[in-house]
Amino acid sequence: MTDLTTTTENSKPVKGRSLWADGLRRLRKRKFAMVCFFIVLVYFILAGLIYLNEAFEWKISLFDWRQSVGPSYQKPWLDYEWTPEGQDVPEKGWTFFGTDFLGQSTFRKMVYGAKTSITVALCASFISLLIGVPLGAIAGYYRGWVDDVIVWFYTTLSTIPYILLVMAFAVVLRERTIFGLEIKGITAVYLAIGLTSWVGICRLIRGEIIKRKESEYVLAARAIGCSSGRIIFIHLLPNVFHVIIINFSLRFVSFIHAEVILSFLGLGEADKPSWGAMIDAARTELARNVWWEMAAATVAIFFISLALNIFGDALRDCLDPKLRTD
């Protein structure tokens, strides 16, 4: 009895372990997934630093892709001598990934491409989540004619080939002013991708909500006087949040690829480097045996895709209650 009373006196509200905390703890035990997480983190940090560099004019030379660092098409990993424009004395130089036609460092362009890709993928993800999640939740919860309309809408949208749709949006959106907002370059790219890619998440959330809306805790929530909106957004959505997170991490890769494809097709950002633009440039360069620009872009895409995929799968294993093994 004394034990009981003392614990009562000393006890403070202790945070219980949520399903979330549990999942993240499991995730931390997976070494390889954590390595992948750090690779992804490096890309994000680079993108963030590039933004800060531009905002505060830190003038970090790594991010200064405009500057010529060597002669045109200098091979990578070799020492060279060159005379910069407006100078008489030749300088010694070395680059990791060679230079392009203008003598700009391929490596710096590759690093800068992370900013473009991450920005596009992040913004496109948020746009598609913002459209897909509420629509899916509402369709799944209310069913009836609301569901019919939403399902009809997204099935129609998904019958159009994806690339064609993104291209159409990109072409329509660029160089336009909508609601006083000038849409150009990168904005058009992520708007086009975001507005066309919410169908998958919408379908997924709709299914999850249909599955859960008959559960007893939803009935219990209605029995304590919750409104439908409250049940959908406060009671049901947190229960499918792991689905959103997992989908987000896996979808991210496809958005990076979509950006690459759009840039490759000439619909991306024109005046700043991106991986897609680098591959586009490499089309003509490959004929002259200039392989490094292609290689640099490919390596950058390869690592973030691989890391995100592995991390996303690990996330799914840890957060999805049905796939739990331990």
């Binding site: 614990t7 509200p13 202790v14 945070k15 372990r17 949520s18 007893e216 006087g225 947190p238």
Partner: protein, 334 residues
């Protein structure tokens, strides 16, 4: 029971139907009963006889489609629940009428702490700050017998046992001081010792708060322990109404008699318990006449049993039954 005005809830001729793909399911037909203030009414019957649908009809939680209340009146404290707006109904749910469910394992939301779930009810119905609501939650948890509530308020449902979760459900239901508690098989999913504790808890809380309870159960033991009044339902109709004592003393309907006979008795050695022959009729194809007649032990020589459904009639003070052969059932006056 005398006809006075101290009924908290009175249900008159309630009918709820489900329009399914297989056809019309008359889940509740012509059900009438009253719950007096401060008393416990038990609704007894087999699975699928319409007990839960009756309760959900009172809460207006019948999912449409496919279900719909098609007829009848539900008066709660003088207010007709079939006519009030959905907004008013939301205020009533949780505040004036609360409900607890059969499965404590699944009726709590797994992603929120139990404290947050109690706080939500308080905040939905009362203007309280977060801190005050937390205080109420802790008090309520102590009241329902959860040890060390300051600590457990931060726990998630999966960290608690079934009995604890049912206590949390009761705390959630009672934190706004409802006048009527609907308990839909509150002890079915719990083991026997916990059942006794939960029933005892409900009795104590009822004494303290003076609320009425509508207890839905198929367990006659629960009825004997907690109920003042009993409504026996069979195949979506009320077949017998009586006070608990009278019902156990002298059941009038052959179905009630069968139910009581199927209980094990102390001091009696038997290989098998008595059963009611046959099975519950399919709600899509109820038999004509008295719905119990194919299983009725009285034999049903009477063609009236097969063709005419006996209406529920008062046979004595506070006693009603629906059987042509019941004692005192006057078949001449309609």
């Amino acid at each position: 029971m005398t006809q006075t005005n101290d009924n908290l809830l009175s249900i008159k001729n309630l009918s709820t139907h489900f329009y399914t793909e297989q056809g019309l399911v008359k889940a509740v037909q012509d059900v009438s009963f009253d719950i007096p203030k401060g008393k416990t009414l038990a609704v007894v019957g087999e699975s699928g006889c319409g007990k839960s649908v009756t309760a959900l009809s009172v809460m207006r939680l019948i999912p449409w489609p496919p279900g719909k209340i098609v007829d009848g009146e539900i008066l709660f404290d003088g207010e007709s629940l079939r006519e009030v707006s959905e907004d008013r109904m939301r205020q009533i749910r949780g505040n004036d009428i609360a409900m607890i469910f059969q499965e404590p394992m699944t009726s709590l939301n797994p992603v929120f702490t139990v404290g947050n779930q109690i706080i939500e009810v308080v905040k939905l119905h009362q203007k309280k700050s977060g801190h005050e609501a937390l205080g109420i939650a802790v008090d309520m948890m102590r009241k329902v017998g959860i040890a060390d509530p300051e600590r457990r308020v931060g726990e998630y449902p999966h960290q608690m046992s079934g009995g604890m979760r049912q206590r949390v459900m009761i705390a959630m239901a009672l934190c706004c001081g409802p006048e009527l508690l609907i308990a839909d098989e509150p002890t079915t999913a719990l083991d026997v010792t916990i059942q006794a504790q939960i029933l005892e808890l409900l009795r104590t809380l009822q004494r303290q708060e003076g609320m009425s309870i509508m207890m839905i159960t198929h367990d006659l033991g629960v009825v004997a322990e907690n109920a003042d009044e009993v409504v026996v339902m069979y195949a979506s109709r009320v077949v017998e109404k009586a006070s608990a004592e009278e019902l156990f003393d002298k059941p009038l309907h052959p179905y009630t008699r069968g139910l009581l006979k199927s209980l094990p008795k102390l001091g009696e050695r038997k290989e098998r318990l008595d059963v009611i022959g046959g099975s519950v009729p399919n709600p899509l194809h109820f038999p004509d006449g008295c719905k119990f007649h194919p299983r009725c032990p009285l034999g049903c020589n009477d063609s009236r049993c097969r063709s005419q459904e006996p209406p529920l009639k008062q046979v004595a003070a506070g006693r009603s039954v629906a059987c042509w052969h019941a004692e005192g059932y006057d078949d001449k006056s309609e």
